[in-house]
């Protein structure tokens, strides 16, 4: 019994450490619209926009930028390291932490502040202006307009056109 126990403990340490090393190969997108860029630089041309929780395989690393391949279509490009998490996220935004959520989803997806909690908070009759917040979130600057603004203002626009 004693020997089995020791063997098991060693086995556990081995399995746990190899799992952590293997986890370096895959990351999850930690933002709602993660820009997958053609080149590893700010304002580089956007190839695709990846959703929160999407799994990506790390192919290469260059400073804060990671060359990745996304899981669903195999698209490749560069993502900023701050938009990637090294753990799996199972809950997608908008899903609720309600009775339907499994134990694993709770563990991995959310500690609870979500759309359901926001709705409950808003129902509390506090003085809040969510209409302006929604309007604010609706303001989006198109990539072309952004590049033009940078260029016309003599600002550094990245070098996204460089082959």
């Amino acid at each position: 019994m004693g020997r089995t126990r020791i063997a098991l403990i060693f086995l556990l340490f081995f399995l746990a450490s190899s799992a952590v090393l293997a986890a370096g190969g895959w990351r999850s997108v930690s933002v709602r619209q993660g820009a997958l860029r053609l080149s590893p630089m700010p304002f580089g041309k956007i190839v695709a926009s990846l959703p929160y929780g999407e799994r990506v395989e790390i192919l290469a690393e260059q400073g804060v930028w990671f060359k990745v391949r996304e899981e669903s279509q195999g698209l490749q490009g560069w993502m900023h390291g701050a938009s990637l998490l090294d753990r799996k996220l199972t809950l997608r935004p908008g899903e609720t932490v309600g009775p339907a959520a499994s134990e694993d989803e709770l563990a991995l997806g959310g500690k609870g502040f979500n759309a359901q909690v926001e709705a409950s908070y808003r129902a509390g009759g506090r003085r809040v202006d969510y209409a302006s917040v929604d309007r604010m979130e609706g303001i989006n600057v198109h990539a072309d307009e952004q590049r033009l603004f940078l260029r016309q203002g003599g600002l550094l626009a990245g070098e996204e056109e460089r082959p």
């Binding site: 098991l8 086995l11 556990l12 399995l15 746990a16 450490s17 799992a19 952590v20 933002v31 709602r32 619209q33 993660g34 700010p42 304002f43 929160y52 804060v64 900023h80 701050a82 938009s83 998490l85 753990r87 935004p93 932490v97 309600g98 009775p99 134990e103 709770l106 563990a107 991995l108 959310g110 500690k111 609870g112 502040f113 979500n114 759309a115 359901q116 909690v117 926001e118 409950s120 908070y121 509390g124 506090r126 003085r127 809040v128 202006d129 302006s132 917040v133 309007r135 604010m136 979130e137 303001i139 600057v141 307009e145 940078l150 016309q152 203002g153 003599g154 600002l155 550094l156 990245g158």
Partner: protein
């Protein structure tokens, strides 16, 4: 029974050890589940219970997820906008967003869950707020201090600094979050119904209060302001703006802030002190050029401010 307890403790201690070594407890326990549970003599039920305890511990060690930061930030912004109404000057707002995105793209956190968004508030006080996750508000009074685009950029860069460094989240009292985590870890979490939701909502409200009270009343620590100023200089330089514009902005504010004011005068360190601390950092940065190119659009966009 005692034997089972001993085994239970041993496995828990092992899990703690691995957690301290930087491993994910749940990962370790999944491994535990994968190998023959019977072999070390703990039942399925015990393993489930063990998993829950370990998960509660793991939560206490990890950050608030980006999605939760987003919902907290929305609520903070909603409270701020109820107190400081939004302006409907669309041209100014568009301009703020173009400048803001130009800077955020060069930050160490160029994307957030919901993205960076900038809005003008119509109050005359000298104010700027960053809600967690990137919702940034700037007052008309603040913009009136700006003589050029670079000074506007300096204000936005400082606020982006607070978002990048997650200062807002750090204003939340730790015991609020640990109560949220333990709530989620209890047996009842599986059937999270009205009482659990009510409790979580109350933790949420408390957290929002912690952040807004810091932003509006008490202000961040000197260390956080210094950090945001340092980030601001870096962002200005990276984007090609003049980092010296931050000092120009502080000098302008020094002349305009009234000692008993309820705005930046109350929540921020004395501009003179900030200038003194920042000056040495400027030496290593390029001064930026092309101000003339940006003059016309500045005047056009903020003419009615």
């Amino acid at each position: 029974m005692r034997k089972i307890f001993l085994k239970f403790t041993m496995v828990l201690a092992l899990a703690c050890g691995l957690l301290a070594a930087g491993c994910k407890t749940t990962q370790v326990l999944d491994t535990l589940g994968a190998i023959q549970v019977g072999g070390i003599g703990i039942s399925e039920t015990q393993l489930t219970s063990l998993k829950k305890t370990a998960r509660a511990m793991e939560r206490a060690f990890t950050d608030i997820t980006p999605e939760q930061e987003y919902y907290l930030g929305r609520a903070v912004a909603a409270e701020l906008l109820a107190k400081y109404p939004a302006s409907d000057d669309q041209e100014a707002v568009r301009y703020l967003n173009l400048i803001g995105q130009s800077l955020a793209g060069f930050s160490d956190r160029p994307e957030t869950f919901g993205g960076y968004h900038f809005l003008l508030t119509s109050d005359e006080g000298i104010n700027a707020f960053a809600a967690p996750g990137g919702l940034i508000l700037v007052s008309r009074g603040m913009l009136r201090c700006c003589r050029d685009e670079d000074m506007v950029a300096a204000v936005l860069a400082h606020e982006i600094g607070h978002v990048q460094q997650k200062h807002g989240l750090q204003a939340i009292r730790k015991n609020r979050l640990s109560s949220a985590f333990s709530l989620m870890a209890t047996e009842g979490a599986k059937q999270m119904g009205t009482p659990a939701l009510a409790e979580l909502t109350s933790v949420f409200e408390g957290s929002i209060h912690d952040v807004t009270a810091t932003l509006v009343d008490s202000g961040y620590s000197r260390a956080f302001e210094r950090e945001a100023d340092a980030v601001a200089l870096t962002l200005l330089a990276r984007a090609g703006y003049d980092p010296g514009a931050l000092l120009a902005m502080l000098a302008e504010m020094k002349g305009r802030l009234t000692p008993k004011g309820l705005d930046f005068a109350k929540t921020h360190p004395d501009p003179a002190e900030r200038i003194k601390e920042l000056s040495p950092l400027l030496d290593d940065l390029a001064s930026g050029s092309g101000k003339e190119l940006r003059r016309q659009r500045f005047q056009r966009a903020l003419a009615r401010i």
